[in-house]
């Protein structure tokens, strides 16, 4: 078994601030993902990475940067937080490129 850890659990920022979310997995999975979840909506893909130092943009990449420093970690940066923005950011990883395993999420609030 394995686990995905996301830090922080709660993130409160100011408008225009740069904010970084971190994800760690000990599954030894190659591919990792960042999703955004808004209330009442499904998950939308922001970035994914198929190996260390690889980055692929998803449908929602504008306003975000990502970094895959090593196989086990994948970071997401909100480049300029938008006022009244509220969402949950979910990290996931996969071994076989089909079934994805998810972390508990980071809840973002922008004041």
């Amino acid at each position: 078994g394995g686990i995905i850890t996301q830090t922080p659990k709660f993130l409160i920022g100011q408008e225009g601030q740069k904010l970084t979310l971190k994800c760690q997995q000990n599954f030894n999975h190659d591919t990792m993902y960042w999703y955004r979840q808004d209330s009442g909506k499904g998950l939308r893909l922001i970035y994914y990475s198929i190996t260390e130092n690889d980055l692929q943009k998803g449908d929602l990449s504008e306003g975000y940067d990502a970094s895959r420093e090593k196989k086990s970690s994948f970071s997401l940066t909100v480049t300029s937080a938008q006022k009244n923005e509220m969402a949950v950011f979910l990290c996931a990883s996969t071994r076989d490129n089909y079934e994805q395993y998810f972390g508990p999420g980071t809840r973002l609030t922008v004041l």
Binding site: L43, I50, Q56, E99, G103
Partner: protein, 115 residues
């Protein structure tokens, strides 16, 4: 374009009653389909998955789903709902893209269980 539609944003059932959550997909080719569950303030957990083969797949906690190519559907069922099933359920289809696979999610169905 590939997509997943969950037509029911909210479903309410009584504890012990049967359940069906609907999922329709649009996909060119043979899809790989998934149902995930999200309990309050948690990440998503896999309930079951369909890889081409037997159209009825069994999952955890008594859930099952049936794939229908003719109806482009992958509905989730449970014979007797328990209060602990109160959660949001997401249907997803796996899509090949740029050397990897992505999941395309439906908007989710909030299941409420009445005592």
């Amino acid at each position: 374009a590939q997509s997943v539609t969950q037509p029911d944003a909210r479903v309410t059932v009584s504890e012990g009653a049967s359940l069906q959550l609907r999922c329709k997909y649009s996909y060119f080719g043979t899809p790989y389909l998934f149902w995930y569950v999200q309990y309050p303030r948690q990440g998503l957990q896999l309930l079951l998955k369909y890889y081409p083969g037997d159209p009825v797949v069994q999952g955890v906690n008594g859930f099952e789903a049936e794939f229908s190519k003719s109806n482009s559907s992958f509905h989730l069922r449970k014979a007797s709902v328990h209060w602990s099933d109160w959660a949001v359920y997401f249907c997803a289809v796996s899509l090949a893209s740029s050397g990897s696979w992505q999941l395309i999610f439906g908007s989710g169905t909030q299941l409420t269980v009445m005592p």
